[in-house]
């Protein structure tokens, strides 16, 4: 069952990622990225990370992608145009990416003992249990300060986004 679900949603992931590359309109690319993120959430669920699966759907497929689609609609972005600048990236980039993928796959396949390295004591992979308790204990006890710092980071990011996207007050808009 696990195997079937893995193949099904890994196929969805790859199909969505390839569709992201093939589409020329940004809104189609954004929607196929939502497919990728939702399939990844199912894979997280298979890997015993329930909290991350829900967070993936709420934060990524929800908040971040709504932001993306909102910006695409706001800017009325049309289909992208082919320009001369993409030639060099195509000629040098494709072989380089293929080489990187081949090296990564070789390393992953050759490395021995990936599955039998030293085991931590945190998570239990009991299919009937849940890892939420241990996750929240580590997150809210040992890593409380980094957790609170991320909230400060988000606040700064919101203020920065508002300051950057504000309409008046910059020299660039004054020229227009």
């Amino acid at each position: 069952m696990h195997l079937i679900l893995f193949f099904l949603f890994a196929g969805f992931c790859l199909a969505g990622a390839i569709n992201l590359l093939l589409q020329t309109h940004p809104i189609n690319s954004a929607l196929s990225l939502i497919v990728v993120m939702t399939s990844l959430a199912v894979l997280y669920l298979l890997l015993g990370a329930e909290f991350l699966a829900i967070a993936q759907i709420i934060v990524y497929a929800g908040a971040v992608m709504v932001l993306f689609t909102f910006v695409v609609m706001l800017l009325n972005a049309g289909r992208e145009e082919r320009t001369l600048g993409s030639r060099a990236a195509g000629r040098v980039g494709f072989p380089a990416v293929v080489v990187v993928l081949a090296v990564l796959a070789t390393i992953i396949l050759r490395t021995q003992g990936l599955a039998s390295a030293h085991l931590g004591v945190g998570l239990s992979n009991d299919p009937n249990g849940s890892n939420l308790v241990i996750l929240s204990q580590v997150l809210f006890h040992e890593l409380l300060l980094p957790f609170e710092l991320t909230s400060v980071l988000i606040l700064i990011a919101i203020l920065g986004a508002v300051a950057i996207a504000r309409r008046e007050g910059s020299e660039g808009t004054a020229e227009k």
Binding site: H2, P26, E81, G90, A105, V121, L139, A157, T173
Partner: protein
């Protein structure tokens, strides 16, 4: 939840993660639209998250999942600031083609 028996090797998750990351790099290189380039970056972040979760599952280590959580938070902040920059650039240049946005000066 008893149907969630573990019989998928870790290697397959890592290969899927590597393939998604490479597709993200390809998108970053060949796409000419600023928003699509940004979407490719998000795809690469997600691919790395998948390998974190796979290792966390295999090695019974909770820190992998914690790391993914922090990556998600930072990615959300990054998306907000990046899209604000895209809006600011579009307001001045009136284009989203990366070839025409080749100056830091607005």
């Amino acid at each position: 939840m008893s149907f969630l028996q573990h019989d998928v090797p870790l290697t397959w998750y890592l290969l899927l993660s590597a393939a998604l990351f490479s597709l993200g790099v390809v998108g970053f290189l060949i796409k000419r639209n600023l928003i699509t380039v940004f979407l490719s970056i998000e795809l690469m972040l997600n691919a790395v998250n998948l390998s974190f979760v796979a290792f966390a599952y295999q090695w019974h280590e909770v820190k992998g999942q914690i790391f993914v959580f922090f990556v998600m938070m930072v990615a959300a902040a990054e998306a907000a600031v990046g899209l604000a920059i895209i809006i600011a650039v579009f307001r001045v240049r009136a284009t989203l083609a990366v070839d025409r946005i080749d100056l830091m000066k607005l």
